[in-house]
């Protein structure tokens, strides 16, 4: 047990150090969500009927959870890249000849990936508030929202790690991940209210865990007076948790497949 924790922390620490030392990765993954908030949010606020009566904060606040989801995904994609890179470079072999428990390879990767996602989500939240979102909610609401965000990030972490196990080619990994990128945001309630979507898109949005993270966060910390929730809060929590478990299950299978002796 302590051996697993030690190795997990060592791998986590190394990944975070590389992440923070690498300005390009940090800047590159951060800039996209920031641009989303700034450009899309400010541009759309006049188009979308929301907040006509109020000031510009409303639409920014409305879309902020979706952008938090997007940046969590960005962090997860970066984590998948780290795993792919270590595998292709052979650094995985350094782990495999060492006496560390095999589970710590999965755990270390998952922890660092989630950490990257969380760092990004927090930065985005701050940017959103700077631009005009006005969050509410008490301490508990915030904690639950953060937990929800981390669970969602875990789900995507799992997806990214398992996709990154399928290929040895960084380009192919990006191509596969990009397939997920667009629908995650657009086929959800992140940018527009669920009831404004055409029927088939609404079904798609209801099948997308992002919708539940977004709705949950809105209810917890970004609720506007008079706005109505799409789903009950408990359902949001359950679906996001299921997503987290499913993602991690996939990653566990994919990684153990790559670390088993043949």
């Amino acid at each position: 047990m302590t051996a697993t924790i030690n190795a997990t922390l060592t791998i986590w620490n190394k990944h975070m150090r590389k992440f923070l030392m690498n300005g390009e990765e940090l800047f590159g993954t951060m800039i996209q969500p920031v641009l989303w908030v700034a450009l899309f949010g400010l541009g759309m606020k006049g188009v979308v009927g929301l907040g006509e009566s109020s000031d510009s904060g409303n639409y920014i606040g409305f879309m902020l959870p979706g952008i938090v989801a997007l940046s969590a995904m960005g962090g997860a994609i970066g984590g998948g890249m780290t795993w792919l890179d270590e595998r292709v470079r052979g650094i995985l072999k350094e782990y495999l000849v060492s006496p560390i428990p095999r589970a710590s390879i999965l755990l270390g990767n998952a922890c660092s990936t989630v950490s990257k996602a969380a760092v990004q989500a927090i930065v985005i939240f701050l940017v959103g508030m700077l631009i005009g979102a006005r969050p509410g909610g008490g301490m508990l609401d915030w904690l639950l929202a953060a937990a929800l965000m981390i669970a969602y990030a875990l789900g995507f972490t799992g997806l990214a790690l398992s996709v990154a196990s399928q290929t040895d080619d960084l380009m192919a990994y990006h191509a596969m991940i990009m397939l997920l990128n667009l629908p995650v945001l657009f086929l959800s309630n992140a940018l527009y209210p669920l009831e404004s979507l055409p029927g088939w898109m609404r079904i798609g949005a209801m099948a997308n865990p992002t919708s539940y993270l977004v709705d949950g966060m809105r209810q917890l910390v970004l609720s506007e007076p008079g706005s109505s929730a799409d789903f009950p809060l408990w359902l949001c929590v359950v679906i996001v948790l299921v997503f987290a478990c499913a993602g991690l299950g996939l990653a566990a299978r994919a990684i153990s497949n790559k670390t088993t002796r043949r």
């Binding site: 051996a3 030690n6 190795a7 060592t10 791998i11 620490n13 190394k14 150090r17 590389k18 030392m21 690498n22 270590e86 470079r89 052979g90 650094i91 072999k93 350094e94 782990y95 495999l96 000849v97 060492s98 006496p99 560390i100 002796r261 043949r262």
Partner: protein, 329 residues
């Protein structure tokens, strides 16, 4: 207790490496290792020599617990590489054939993270890394990212990483692959001083004859997954005992070989890819005789050369292939 255990108990200290009837068959029925048996004494250097595809990396991969044997067994200091994998992993250091380094980290970070994986204390990691960086002359570059290192510096850092955890047995898979002569000479220097100073056991693979000859106490020649010869380099060469005349050309060598074998001064005749190797007592005295035998035979000579006995001749004799010598002299 099995009989093998009994024997070890009687003989005392187990061998650093003990491989018995080791066989590895990959999917697709590729037989990479075929009943390989060898052993390495503690505090010595053993070189596994062979052409690409002979099974050298497969052997190292099994010994370092990366892959499982199909059959047979391997022990490191008496510990089975399958059953006692964790203990084995604690006791070994490894460098791989490919350059495996985290380019984004500095040399010092590569070493300390490696130590942390093995649960060395922070203090130990720091002091051991410092000491090793001095040893391999990377002190000045220690805090630069590895991506700025030359090939030779990277290889040296890998060597230091393998030594970081004070292993009892060090496995080096082609430790000088891709290095220029001065880089190779430097690696050799470190390897030799390690064994002299610390009593470490080193198991290395190489396809450079000079590397095996200069470094190893014992050499095993691996060909198509089988050990075809084994011994101290000089002993193997002495057994050859003679100068070698190399005839290269085309056509059938059968009748020429028979003719040569019947001559009194000819000690050995072996067939290689493109000709014959003829062991004679003295090449200077008998070269003309040997060449003259070829006239009238089905083999037409295109090139004649004479070599004093060396590991290359040993290798050619046992494997039927000629191996290029390393670039370094």
């Amino acid at each position: 207790m099995t009989m093998a255990d009994d024997r070890r108990a009687v003989s005392g200290v187990p061998k650093a490496v003990e491989v018995s009837e080791l066989t590895k068959v990959y999917t697709g029925n590729v037989r990479a290792l075929d009943r390989l048996t060898l052993s390495v004494d503690t505090g010595t250097i053993y070189a596994l020599l062979g052409p690409n595809g002979a099974g050298k990396t497969t052997t190292i991969s099994i010994l370092t617990t990366l892959i499982s044997p199909t059959d047979g067994s391997a022990r490191i200091n008496g510990m089975d590489v399958v059953r006692d994998e964790k203990k084995v992993r604690c006791d070994i250091g490894v460098t791989f054939q490919e350059m495996i380094l985290d380019d984004a980290l500095t040399g010092r970070q590569v070493l300390t993270y490696h130590g942390r994986l093995y649960r060395m204390s922070r203090g130990d990691c720091t002091s051991r890394a410092k000491q090793l960086l001095e040893l391999i002359d990377l002190g000045d570059a220690a805090d630069r990212k590895c991506k700025t290192y030359s090939g030779g510096m990277k290889r040296r850092l890998e060597l230091a990483r393998a030594l970081m955890t004070v292993p009892k047995v060090l496995f080096l898979d082609e430790p000088t692959l891709g290095l220029d002569p001065s880089g190779r000479a430097q690696i050799w220097k470190y390897i030799r001083s390690l064994v002299k100073d610390t009593g470490l056991t080193i198991f290395l693979t190489t396809h450079y004859l000079d590397e095996a000859h200069r470094l190893a106490d014992r050499v095993g020649i691996l060909d198509q997954g089988r050990l075809v010869a084994e011994g101290a380099p000089d002993q193997l060469i002495d057994e050859l005992g003679v100068d070698t005349i190399v005839l290269r050309g085309s056509g059938s060598t059968d009748d020429l070989r028979e003719k040569l074998q019947s001559l009194q001064f000819v000690e050995t005749v072996s067939v290689v890819d493109d000709g014959l190797l003829i062991g004679v007592e003295s090449s200077s005295r008998h070269l003309a005789d040997v060449v003259s035998q070829a006239s009238g035979s089905a083999f037409s000579i295109e090139d004649v050369s004479v070599s004093k006995p060396d590991l290359g001749a040993v290798f050619a004799k046992y494997t039927g292939h000629r191996l290029q010598n390393g670039d370094a002299s």
